[in-house]
């Protein structure tokens, strides 16, 4: 506080003269450049006086930014939405060759019990030739290679591919087929043909028992 007081008292005197000469002189930082013309002691007083204005305006700016933070962060997912970020699914009833559609974070998730033939077909593919090279093992859990769990969101523009419900078209590679722009996915849900750039995404998941899988 004492330094502040000193600043003020030294600032006062030159300020009177200067302001009398140009009553409307802008006190913003810009004016400081002009003040350089004043002689030694007076000049430094003026600069110190300007410091108060700069500090006050900066404080106001910082305050406005601090208030803006909650006003923006309110838009991100609220606590009740985040609470649903993980789900547990009982997969005991899904027979080989069947799949179910469930919903996770308001997005469709495909859970598919692959038949041995489908697993074999997926493993036969030369990984190097794929657009998004990944093996089936990399997309499933060890010992549970028949459980293919992917997001049902086409990596092209976000449509839901067909092939999870019985009777739906599974595409040329026996996996999934996106009808919007014709992307074909194979039995490991890897992109094989069409505009989609990536394989169907595999969410974070884990088997918490033999038949219950936790997604998210």
């Amino acid at each position: 506080m004492s330094t502040v007081k000193k600043t003020k008292s030294t600032a006062k005197k030159p300020a009177v003269k200067k302001q009398a000469a140009a009553p409307a002189a802008s006190v913003a930082t810009k004016a400081a450049a002009g003040d350089q013309n004043h002689g030694g002691a007076e000049g430094s007083g003026v600069r110190r006086r300007d410091f108060i204005h700069v500090a006050a305006v900066s404080f106001a700016g910082v305050g406005a930014a601090a208030v803006a933070m909650p006003l923006v962060s309110q838009m991100s997912a609220s606590a009740d939405v985040l609470a649903l970020a993980s789900i547990e699914v009982d997969v005991a009833a899904i027979q080989p060759g069947q799949s179910i559609k469930t919903s996770w974070r308001k997005q469709p998730v495909f859970i598919r019990n692959l038949t041995p033939a489908e697993v074999e077909e997926a493993n036969k593919v030369d990984v190097g030739s794929l657009r998004d090279p990944q093996t089936l093992a990399e997309r499933t859990k060890p010992g549970k290679e028949n459980w293919l769990i992917t997001l049902g969101v086409c990596t092209h523009l976000g449509c839901v591919p067909l092939g999870a419900a019985s009777g739906e078209v599974k595409g040329e590679y026996g996996g999934y087929f996106c009808p919007c722009h014709g992307s074909h996915y194979d039995t490991a849900a890897r992109i094989r043909k069409g505009p989609a750039p990536l394989n169907l995404a595999v969410p974070e998941f884990a088997f918490i028992s033999d038949t219950v899988v936790k997604i998210g």
Partner: protein, 430 residues
């Protein structure tokens, strides 16, 4: 503007010049709230409240837009969506409490702004238009605040909507159909809630528009001042920037300290517990009261207890209920006529000894009593007090002010603002 010595906007860089030639918006701002607007040098702190009211409106609009992102106007979901904001939305409690208390602080600031105008005669020629626009803003604010209070759909929201739209049913012949038109039904329900939300979102922007007119009208004659003496020359004024921007910055800090103290430490102090009970159309709260800023008008409404009719015939010309409603609206509408009711050529209350007495010992206490009694149950002592205070309120504006303006002998006015400030006559003032 109207002062020849006002500084002219001089764009510095090439970009500024380029913009100025095509869209002179910076010039407009410079002349409105920059160095280009000369303001009397003697304004006191009461002149801070215009800017503060503008800040309060901005706070309400910004927080309101955020709340509308999460609120849903449904009779089943509105209450829970507000609680969702309070509990689950990130910083939602802050935004909601700021909006809730922001409304109260908006009214505090505007009331002080209005009383400043009343005391210093800011409504007098040549500033009548500024005053008329100001009263319009006040009416719009009241409508906006009322509809906003309905949105959480708590008990007070619901019964407030019921009672306030009930005013209209007092109007003869068209009353009941008009009420049904306003509510979109026989009682407040989904239709009413939805339209109140729509209008509550719309009106603040209309208020902002009228504020622009208010400021425009202000810049024709320039700001009034505590002496009420007109500006005579350059020595009487200082440029708005930096002089009053700095003063307003300080005033803003003080205002925000009060606002923050209430919002963060006593956010429900100005509210009513019953509004944390979801609306129940089958049960009225024991004691319904409007928000504090409507209490004086509510007291006036309740103060009318006898019918106006021909004595001993039983013929009623104006029933008490209708009279209460007319008087309540009248108590605000009479402000529109104030510039022509107070005919004294002296503006400032400082130089009007009689006016000043009636202002401090009549008007202010009567409004304080009305505010207090408005929130009280209808017991004899409160009814009597509010009847006295309301009678004074109408007499003050409609009878006393015109008479005082005629008979009062004002004190000698200073020759100029500068003389009033420095205490010595300047050659320039002669």
């Amino acid at each position: 503007m109207s002062f020849p010595w006002a500084q002219e906007y001089k764009p510095q860089g090439t970009v500024s010049k380029w913009v100025d030639e095509r869209l002179p918006l910076p010039r407009l701002v410079y002349n409105a709230v920059g160095a280009g607007y000369p303001v009397p040098r003697n304004l006191n702190y009461f002149w801070n409240f215009g800017v503060l009211a503008g800040v309060a409106l901005v706070i309400q609009i910004v927080t309101g837009i955020v709340l509308a992102m999460h609120y849903y106007a449904s009779v089943d979901g509105a209450f829970n969506s507000v609680e969702h904001i309070m509990r689950d939305v990130n910083s939602g409690w802050f935004v909601r409490y700021a909006h809730m208390n922001g409304a109260s602080f908006f009214f505090i600031v505007v009331y002080i702004h209005i009383f400043r105008g009343l005391f210093y005669g800011s409504y007098k020629a040549p500033r009548e238009m500024i005053w008329l626009l100001g009263v319009t803003i006040f009416l719009l604010m009241m409508a906006t605040a009322f509809m906003g209070y309905v949105l959480p759909w708590g008990q007070m929201s619901f019964w407030g909507a019921q009672v306030i739209t009930g005013f209209f049913s007092a109007i003869p012949l068209v009353g009941e159909p008009l009420r049904q038109l306003l509510l979109g039904g026989f009682a407040p329900d989904q239709a009413a809630l939805n339209r109140f939300f729509s209008l509550h979102y719309l009106l603040p922007f209309i208020i902002a528009g009228v504020i622009i007119l208010h400021i425009w009208a202000l810049h024709i004659p320039g700001s009034s001042n505590p002496t009420g003496v007109s500006v005579k020359g350059e020595q009487d004024t200082v440029p708005f920037h930096p002089y009053y921007t700095a003063k307003d910055g300080f005033g803003l800090g003080v205002f925000l300290i009060f606002f923050v103290a209430v919002t963060f430490f006593a956010p429900n102090m100005l509210g009513h517990p019953d509004n944390y009970i979801p609306a129940n159309p089958l049960s009225t709260p024991a004691h319904i009261v409007p928000e504090w800023y409507f209490l004086p008008f509510y007291a006036i409404l309740k103060a009318f207890t006898v019918d106006f009719g021909i004595p001993f015939t039983g013929i009623i010309i104006i029933p008490a209920k209708l009279m209460g409603v007319l008087a309540m609206f009248g108590s605000i509408l009479l402000l529109f006529f104030l510039p022509w009711l107070d005919t004294s050529p002296v503006r400032s209350g400082h130089y009007r000894p009689l006016f000043r007495k009636f202002f401090w010992y009549g008007l202010i206490p009567s409004l304080a009593i009305l505010t207090y009694c408005g929130g009280k149950p209808p017991y004899t002592q409160w009814v009597v007090l509010s009847q006295l205070a309301a009678a004074y309120y109408f007499a003050h504006f409609l009878i006393i002010l015109p008479i005082v303006s005629r008979i009062e002998r004002p004190l000698p006015l200073p020759n100029s603002i500068t003389e009033a400030v420095t205490g010595k006559p300047l050659p320039a003032a002669a």
